[in-house]
């Protein structure tokens, strides 16, 4: 009874932001929850967690970003600090950006191209003793230069479509050159940016506060006088806080049950925005452990899973929704349903698929196999997905137990190959399929692949695809790569893609959902209708 209503409201809510909104009002303070305990540091160049973005993104500017007015698009990028999106020259190997004039850091000093170049150099070629989390996204970049105070030039080693989306990275905050030169670790504990909000206080472990930057370079923005982000790791607390209006929203994503609860209790005071999420749990068998070195066993594992029937059921209880291949379902590079159905694990006839799985197991001498599924101590959606998978596997006679580990031991287990099969994940910010599918490449190429396999044919296919600049050809190569990884070799396989559900207080306006909780978080366009 409640669920159809919730679903209807959700659909209505998605339609809402697209319609012409009333004129934005200035003023007020937005209070939102940050579903984490506290970020490790405030340095976006170093950290990978959304907790750092949700805490500090409003203080910073970036070079380019996803369009804040259309963040759902996976191909739409616009300038923040630059004045116009450049056309590449030199056969697609040189990008020249003109930097806005009159931009000031919060300490009053001017922001110039030198600061932009210094920040990008710290990200792409970090100095000794400094960690950059996204260094590997920029394998194609040769040099970043600032020939004059208003020009930044990126020179690439080879032309690729993966460059522009990578450049829109939400962690790529522009820092002050002078400070970076003096102390490259300064930004871990301090904040000095040029973004729409100025730092107003960090109560350690409790809240982050910002106030309006009156000198912000975009006329009329931001609308809010300030914001308060409150750290709360436990799910129940965040739902209660929104229900009692102690906070207006959270930006990561809530499970369906929490959405249903809030909508049931508060009705039209809680609109909901939803989107496919550029994150997915991947099942990774450890190729080093017997019998998972046998492709027949790996294929049996994927053939046992009924994604088509599982996804809609799981969507009612977990943050997952859409059946997809290796590419984010909203991207033009993603497989269509027909293309998917030709791949193991997506066959339309599950009985046929499971019969084949049983046959393969028998052939490989692995009937009634017992193994352990290593998982991370995170409820949504990791443990939900695991419970489902274990039941699916029981249908072809496999006996699977689950070993759940906290974050540290989980990653250590991955790094030491100390597992049979694991639920790994691939979670990226900007949708950039060419880089995102790097996750499926052998460890020798992509350090966060834990399947323990080597496969030169796969690497060659990938390189060909990365260097291809013609879209149609690239898409065909992507299909070939996908079929090869998921079916022929069954190196890793998919579970339904994550789904981002954001219920929020109806007085919050001007915020639009994107396919990633990392994106579009500077809050400049958010306003309160109170």
């Amino acid at each position: 009874m409640t669920r159809p209503i919730a679903a209807m409201l959700a659909v209505l809510a998605i339609a809402l932001p697209a319609t012409a909104e009333d004129t934005p009002k200035s003023g007020g303070t937005l209070t939102y929850m940050i579903p984490a305990d506290a970020p490790p540091s405030l340095d976006g160049h170093r950290e990978t967690t959304f907790a750092t973005v949700h805490s500090a993104a409003p203080f910073y500017s970036v070079l380019i970003r996803v369009d804040p007015n259309n963040p759902a698009s996976t191909t739409d990028f616009v300038c923040d600090l630059c004045t116009a999106m450049p056309k590449p020259t030199d056969d697609g190997k040189t990008y020249t950006f003109k930097i806005r004039s009159g931009v000031k850091f919060h300490d009053g000093s001017p922001l110039t191209a030198a600061d932009v170049a210094a920040s990008w150099n710290a990200i792409i070629h970090p100095p000794e003793g400094v960690t950059s989390a996204r260094e590997s996204y920029f394998v194609m970049v040769d040099k970043v230069e600032a020939p004059d105070p208003s020009t930044v030039i990126f020179r690439l080693k080879f032309a690729t479509n993966a460059f522009m989306p990578a450049l829109a990275d939400p962690f790529a905050w522009i820092y002050k050159k002078e400070i970076l030169d003096k102390d490259p670790h300064w930004y871990e504990k301090n904040i000095l940016g040029s973004g729409p909000f100025k730092f107003a206080g960090l109560e350690i472990g409790q809240s982050m506060k910002g106030v309006r930057n009156p000198d912000y370079y975009i006329e009329g923005l931001p609308y809010l006088d300030g914001f308060t982000g409150i750290y709360a790791e436990k799910q129940a607390v965040r739902v209660e806080a929104i229900r009692a209006d102690r906070a207006a929203m959270e930006f990561r994503g809530m499970p369906p049950a929490s959405r249903d609860q809030l909508v049931k209790e508060l009705g039209d005071k809680i609109p909901v925005q939803e989107s496919d999420w550029n994150c997915v749990n991947l099942v990774t068998p450890n190729h080093k452990k017997k019998p998972f070195d046998d492709v027949r066993v790996r294929r049996a594992l994927t053939l046992a899973i009924d994604n088509w029937r599982g996804a809609p059921a799981l969507a009612k209880i977990a943050n997952v929704h859409t059946v997809g291949g290796i590419v984010f379902p909203g991207s033009p590079l993603a497989a269509t349903k027909e293309e998917l159905q030709a791949i193991a694990g997506f066959w339309p006839d599950i009985d046929k698929s499971r019969a084949e799985a049983k046959r393969l197991l028998k052939e490989a001498g692995a009937e009634g196999l017992k193994f352990e599924l290593m998982n991370r101590n995170v409820d949504q959606p990791y443990k939900y997905v695991a419970t489902w998978l274990i039941d699916e596997w029981s249908k072809i006679g496999l006996h699977v137990t689950q070993r759940v580990l906290p974050t540290g031991p989980f990653f250590e287990g991955l790094r030491n190959d100390n597992f049979d099969v694991t639920i790994d994940f691939n979670c990226q910010a900007v949708v950039n399929p060419l880089l995102d599918v790097g996750k499926f490449l052998p460890h020798s190429v992509y350090t966060e692949n834990y399947g323990n396999y080597d496969d030169q044919k796969e690497i060659d296919l990938y390189q060909q695809m990365l260097h291809e600049t013609d879209f149609t050809k690239q898409r065909a190569l992507m299909r070939e790569f996908e079929k090869y990884v998921l079916d022929n070799e069954a190196h890793m396989f998919m579970t339904p893609w994550w789904y981002r559900i954001i219920p929020y207080r109806s007085y919050v306006k001007g915020w639009k959902i994107s396919p990633s909780h990392y994106l579009n978080q500077d809050l400049a366009t958010v306003w309160l209708d109170k």
Partner: protein, 323 residues
């Protein structure tokens, strides 16, 4: 007596060093470390080089033995170092969270004893009557309920009741304000977790009060007092309760030290930025320095409370030998 005190105090040192060794070893036996947690949790790229840079920055590449000596020597000098997670001084991080935990602990103990001592006494006086049964059932139920469940249901009840009563749901504030800044807001935040923790604590104290009271009531001097024809409430207040409270006081002391355990779960449920939550965070982040400091503080508090209680006991009860 002095020899006994000195001996008792000297015994504290090996216990502390033992605890230090235990936490040091246990934390390092857990697979992975803070660098793996930090670099891995966001899902970005992390390679061997990044992990090594992180190790070097935090001093984790130094020999274990040196790390241990630094930690113990630092502890006895009162220098706990900096948190590996936030890079801020450990004492600063703890100081930021200490007031709220202390406030809840104090209120919980007060609440617990306000409930427990009268009810426990009543229960003992009316042993095996219906009142006794009801009180005992309430008290045992307090021990039998998982505290996080109680906390979650408690918040839900507050929300539902306030929604029914005022039309819009209300819950305690979720960001802490010190009591001297805004007493009302502070109290409205602290009282509910204090009740949740206090209920459980009261159950323990109530049982203890009851059984201690029952025992005292059978002592000869109470019989004598009764025989003398003293008024019942004088017997209870002057003679029985006073003596029965001795073990209860001990228990309150020990329970106060154990409160930290109750706080771990309750602070999670109510989203209070206290020591208990910091504890869980630092263990999960594998923040060695922070966890070590917190464990040492808890152990020191526990050991000192026990020592002081022992000493008070020895002083109060001459039958205990200062062996």
């Amino acid at each position: 007596m002095y020899r006994y005190i000195i001996k008792r105090l000297l015994l504290v040192i090996p216990t502390l060093v033992g605890a230090a060794a235990l936490v040091f070893l246990l934390m390092r036996l857990i697979p992975g470390d803070i660098c793996v947690v930090r670099l891995g949790s966001g899902g970005g790229t992390f390679d061997e080089r990044a992990v090594q840079a992180c190790h070097a920055q935090l001093g984790l590449d130094r020999p274990m033995f040196l790390q241990f000596v630094d930690f113990v020597w630092g502890f006895f000098r009162g220098d706990f170092g900096t948190s590996m997670w936030s890079g801020k001084p450990v004492l600063y991080e703890i100081a930021a969270r200490f007031p709220i935990s202390l406030e809840i602990a104090i209120m919980a103990v007060v609440v617990a004893n306000l409930i427990a001592i009268p009810l426990g006494t009543l229960s003992a006086l009316k042993q095996n009557s219906p009142i006794d049964l009801v009180i005992r059932v309430i008290s045992i139920a307090g021990l039998a309920t998982p505290s996080f469940w109680l906390g979650i249901l408690f918040i839900l009840a507050i929300l539902n009741v306030s929604q029914a009563a005022f039309g819009s749901p209300w819950m305690p504030p979720i960001d802490y304000v010190p009591i001297w800044k805004d007493p009302l807001r502070n109290l409205s935040m602290v009282i509910f977790p204090a009740l949740t923790v206090g209920y459980r604590t009261s159950a323990v104290t109530m049982r203890m009060t009851r059984s201690a009271m029952l025992e005292v009531l059978r002592e000869d001097y109470i019989r004598t007092a009764r025989a003398k024809g003293l008024v019942e409430h004088i017997i209870i207040n002057r003679h029985a309760l006073k003596n029965a409270l001795l073990p209860v006081v001990t228990l309150i002391g020990i329970e106060a030290a154990f409160l930290i355990g109750g706080l771990v779960v309750t602070e999670q449920v109510f989203n209070l930025n206290g020591i208990g939550r910091l504890f869980v965070q630092s263990v999960q982040n594998q923040d060695y320095t922070m966890t070590q400091a917190l464990v040492m503080l808890v152990v020191a508090a526990f050991v000192l409370t026990n020592t002081v209680v022992d000493l008070i006991y020895a002083w109060l009860d001459p039958r205990i030998r200062y062996g």
